[in-house]
Each structure stands twice: as C-alpha cells, then as structure tokens.
Symmetry: C2
Subunit: 142 residues, 2 copies
C-alpha cells in the first residue's frame, strides 16, 4: 500500500457492494422512481433500528415533486425494489398515495426525536393502505 | 415552509435519530474506541443485507492505527456498543485481535464484489474468536 494513499477516502461509492450486501453510502443518493419510470427523488438517509440492527425506513427527499416542496418521506425499506434498467429504486406508489403519505419538512426532520407519532404514522399508513400482508421483496437488490 | 428552504439539505446530522432509530448518515463518521477509551478510527460505511434489510457490518476506517496504514475493518454490527460518555462506539477488541482481524486497503475495498472470501472471513473470524454465542447487545444505541 502506497503511503500517499493513507489518508485518502474511497471516492467511488459504486463499489461498496457485494452480491449480498450494499453500503448505506451507496444507497444514499440513489434515485427513486414510480412504477411509470418517473423520477420522484432520491434517498437521503437510511433509518436503522438500534436494537435489532434492521433497516426500518429509507428516507427519500422529494424535491418539489407534486408541488409540495422539498419533503422527506420515510418509506418502509421493503417497499423499494431496485431496477437495473433505471439504475434506481422503484416504489409502487400512485401520486395520490404519495401525496397522502407521511412526509416531513426539513425542520420537522430535525425533530424526529420529538415527533412522537412518527413511527406509528408511517407504519399505520403503509401497513393499512398498501397491505400489511405484503411479502417483503428483494429489497435494495442491485 | 419557506420557499427559500426548498433545495436545502439538512446539515445537522445529529438530529436524524429517534428513540428507536438512527440514521446511517449519523452512524457514518462516528468515532470508535477500544475498551480503554483509545480512539481507533471512525465508521466509514454500514453494510446492509439486501434481502433481509438487516445491517451486517459496520466498516471502520482505522487511519494508521497500530502502524498498519489506513485499513477498512468490517466489524459485525452487534460488536458495537454506543458509549454516551465517549460519544462514540466501543468495540471490545484487544490490539492483537484487531491486528489479526480481516481488514482491507482502499483498493481492496473497491473490490468487495470480487473478494470471494470477504463475508466468510469476517463471519468466521468474529464468530470463532469472539464467541459465536455472544448475545447481540444494545447495538448502535445512542
């Protein structure tokens, strides 16, 4: 290993991946599309359950899509399916479903800890509207 | 919501957290210490199991610690315990254990997909040396 490389950070995010694993750094920034292939936004963060170590939500930023301004949508991780052709995640949500889905502004996002109904709202919304019996798909599969 | 905020990204990583959840963006960059409180490095990435959506490893960068140059150590997520006092994660590893643990250079990290024995090496090492029966702790708890 060359000493000149010692303090360099890897810059190619595309590489932090194996057949089974994907780096959160690669997930962040990945585009999100709806079922019609329309670009909705991109993934901003990945929320991990502290105790169990399981990914609970991907927080997507929707930059002004649908005229609602920049909003952050926590989406259940198993709602995301990677589409090789699009090079991004597809969520099977209609405009109406997205519009009604729990979303937070930048300020609200900064108060997640104080938004008491955050997890309940997200779980209830997707559990009820999109089928609590939905089988988790090949989530995040690249 | 002010229109001037529309394209702003939240900059305070500290806030993306609830009692139960923590954002990968907050985990990234968090300091890692050994049991004596010595600073070892920081978390570079979080590797997620694509199918199950479970965090498998936290990749830590150890900048020249122990004289081994910049190395990236995939550590099982459940080895990390958050220490309020230190403001970072503690891993109960001795110098010898760390020295012998699977680690990758920047170049090798870029070839995770081609490092066939990557997951096997990490699992075997920590499973065997540090106890396969170890109870997962309060991982990542802030």
């Amino acid at each position: 290993m060359a000493t000149s490389d010692m303090n360099q950070q890897p810059t190619d995010k595309a590489v932090h991946e194996t057949w089974n694993l994907i780096g959160a750094r690669k997930v962040e920034g990945t585009s999100v599309y709806n079922g019609n292939g329309d670009h909705l936004g991109s993934i901003y963060d990945v929320m991990i359950d502290k105790r169990g170590g399981k990914v609970a939500y991907a927080v997507m930023s929707f930059g002004g899509f649908l005229g609602i301004g920049e909003k952050y949508h926590p989406l259940p991780w198993n709602l995301l399916t990677y589409d090789e052709g699009l090079g991004g995640y597809v969520v099977g949500l209609t405009e109406d479903q997205l519009r009604a889905a729990p979303a937070y502004t930048e300020t609200e996002l900064g108060n997640f800890g104080m938004v008491g109904d955050y997890e309940t709202r997200v779980r209830d919304y997707y559990g009820t509207r999109l089928g609590a019996t939905r089988t988790p798909g090949s989530i995040g599969t690249h």
